[in-house]
Symmetry: D2
Subunit: 85 residues, 4 copies
């Protein structure tokens, strides 16, 4: 493979194609990241709490049962330590 690169340039072309595909995809991905950031900025401007919304979005990614169970364990541990739940 590596010798192909030095020899004929065939693999070099293949590598170039791969990299261009990656770069195009990453560009689109970064653009979406920018869009998301904009939405947060906008909702912040509308008076919402950004950190809370982030947490909310994260919570919604997990099935409710899992979340409930994790919460239950956490509260149990907090009680064991005498922290207010």
């Amino acid at each position: 493979m590596t010798t192909d690169i030095a020899d004929s340039g065939v693999a070099a072309e293949e590598l170039k194609q791969f990299i261009e595909r990656i770069e195009r995809l990453e560009e689109e991905k970064a653009a979406l990241g920018g869009d998301i950031k904009e939405v947060y900025s906008e909702l912040k401007g509308r008076g919402f709490d950004v950190a809370a919304v982030r947490k909310l979005v994260a919570l919604r990614k997990k099935p409710p049962e899992e979340r409930a169970e994790a919460d239950a364990i956490l509260e149990l541990y907090m009680q064991a330590l005498g922290m207010q739940a």
Copy 2:
């Protein structure tokens, strides 16, 4: 704002809209992440070194001049420490 949520549900609707926009954008972003991963998997199957390609892609993100300057300082320091450049 927060009282609006409790009172009328108007802000609740607005919040819902924001969150749905975010979730849709994140979905698309995750899909692109998957596509990128596939490309790496494919080029790996073709015999390329994934770590090297990742580094290469990262390098290409920075303008060549910057990279050259940063490298120059780094090499200077490396020489000062007696490391092979």
Copy 3:
């Protein structure tokens, strides 16, 4: 400064000192990271839920009032979206 490195080696020695200080500190820091990992491993072996303990430790870093307020906002938002709190 940079010319000093090339010229006299004085700054080179200074740079070397700085780097050695950093590396020594990072070594100690990494060792503590390993110790922490061991504790988690140990408590896992004793039947505790690692994720929950991590969350608990993180929670304890923040003052209780802050935590309560953040929770209040989050629950408010969840109610606005009709999610079970």
Copy 4:
């Protein structure tokens, strides 16, 4: 285990011990992080390029042979793409 917590408080005490160990270790770890930051601040004040020194420290973490090999592959790929090495 979890029933022990509710029942007798024995596991609660054990959990408390674990958490205190973790918190003590994290405190020391954070202190070292602060020390490292100070060193960077100091070398910056002495005219060194912080980003370059960070990169240098990172480089030194990897064995020279590995670094050389990785560089070789990277340069091969860069040549294949017609980038200046």
